[in-house]
């Protein structure tokens, strides 16, 4: 393998590869999950590196058609990293080990940032705009996620430039960032509860003939019912292993029953 000649990738190549990496989940399946998209993202650049040496291209591709499942933006980072290693002629076994060691932690990190932080915040902003009847809601949402989408370009470059240094970097910061994203996400969820979960009894639901039940709760702590409701659902999910579909059905059934008796 030592005598293989390699072409250099340009900055533009890495940018294009990063854009291409959007295909990651095309062809997603339960056997190898994102294997096809992950491999195809890099394939044109393997070809660029090895030129007409189809044998090497095939070897590099085969090395990357294994099972992989990670977060989309982090995949781009990993693609950049692998291309830099491939270009440097690193041992393919090593490359595969690095890939297999990193995709899990990277998934956690990426999910924390994109799914658990960016998504609820952008949704919250957009929903509040929607509720005011403004078309800014969807527009702002698309703009935010447009930037989310193209953030894969610097991530791809980062992976490429760091090369093997990437491994230490991830080890040092993954916990801190995941933790930080947790704080952010949890606080936003807390803030969403009063605005978006609409759990209240109608004026007409009274006890002792005159005392409206909702008034009692509002006197003690406004929005305590939505809060309690979410915490109760969380308890069911976490401790009773109830799944989302069961919850949704349950809520619909209970809602209809409460509606029938005029309680809600």
């Amino acid at each position: 393998m030592m005598t293989v000649s390699r072409n250099k990738l340009t900055k533009k190549d890495i940018t294009n590869m990063s854009l291409l990496s959007a295909v990651l989940q095309l062809g997603f399946n339960y056997e190898r999950m994102q294997a096809m998209g992950f491999c195809f993202t890099m394939a044109p650049y393997f070809k660029k590196i090895y030129g007409d040496n189809t044998e090497e291209v095939a070897a590099a591709m085969t090395n990357n058609i294994d099972f992989i499942n990670t977060e989309m933006h982090m995949a781009t980072f990993l693609n950049g990293l692998i291309l830099s290693l491939e270009e440097a002629g690193e041992d393919r076994e090593l490359i595969r080990n690095i890939k297999n060691g990193l995709f899990g932690p990277l998934a956690g990190l990426g999910d924390a940032i994109f799914w658990f932080t960016l998504l609820p915040i952008s949704a919250a902003i957009a929903v509040s705009l929607n509720k005011q009847g403004s078309i800014l809601g969807p527009i702002v949402y698309m703009v935010i996620h447009f930037f989310g989408a193209i953030s894969r370009v610097p991530l791809g470059h980062l992976g490429y430039n760091l090369g093997t240094n990437a491994i230490d970097l991830i080890r040092d910061n993954a916990t801190a960032i995941t933790k930080a994203a947790g704080v952010l996400g949890v606080m936003v969820v807390g803030a969403l509860i009063p605005s978006y979960v609409n759990f209240s009894f109608p004026e007409t639901f009274v006890i002792f003939d005159v005392v409206p039940v909702q008034g009692i709760f509002d006197t003690i702590l406004p929005n305590m019912l939505p809060l309690g409701f979410v915490l109760f659902l969380h308890y069911l999910i976490k401790n009773k292993n109830v799944n989302a579909v069961q919850l949704i059905f349950g809520i619909i059934v209970v809602s209809i029953i409460l509606s029938f008796f005029g309680i809600m």
Binding site: M36, D111, V127, V183, G185, M187, L192, P222, F260
Partner: protein
Amino acid sequence: MEITLVQGLLLALVAFIGSLDQQMEVFLIFRPIIVCFFSGIVLGDVQLGLSSGAVAELAYLGLLTIGGTVPPNPLIAGIMTTVIAYTSGVSAEAALGLSLPFALLGQWIGMILSTLYSGLMKFADDICARGDVAALGRLIALAAFGKALVSAVVIFLSAYLIQEPITVLVSQFPEWLIHGFRVAGNLLPGVGLALLLKVMLKVDNVAYLFIGFIIATYVEMGNVLPIAIIAVCITFLSYINSKDRQAYDVGGVDDDGI
């Protein structure tokens, strides 16, 4: 109101494009807030698109695809919420409840396709062994196209072909039943939030849940952005603080000054 053939086809187009994005998770235009908006445009009722988008987005906020799991389909839920509200005249909240069967249908189809697609790996391996880049491209394009087409067909059937029976069914619902679905629609966002908490809530950060809740309850804010900003600030401060601590423990930060 009735959905015309052209509208039905356009909705299918929204579903097709949405499904491609849903597979790629790239621009997030498959999320209810966006597909409802476009569905609203197609149906000529933008306000309906906005309100159903708001309701459905929140309900499906925590129903994410983490780790490759397939949740009730938010793309289909979004479009069908708008469609049912439009054709049956019920509120967006009630329509959200009524759209659930379709979202589950979408989930099951998605799981079946991802199972079937496992068969493609055989071809992929061969292609890689040949080093045939273009062929790999064609394979995934085809796979993506297949999934998208299925979504489009599902939407065309659900939104256009069977609109009559759905409308008739809904029109026979008693008031308390419709109201019950509306109540459910108001509560469903709680599921999304609870699912988010499942992953994010730790002993470490549970305090922030309550802080966010209290602020939002007592300080009038148009949206959640200011709280997100405060949360970023807190996060950043504690990050700085822990870095400081580390540096200090290692030996002697704070040498500036004099």
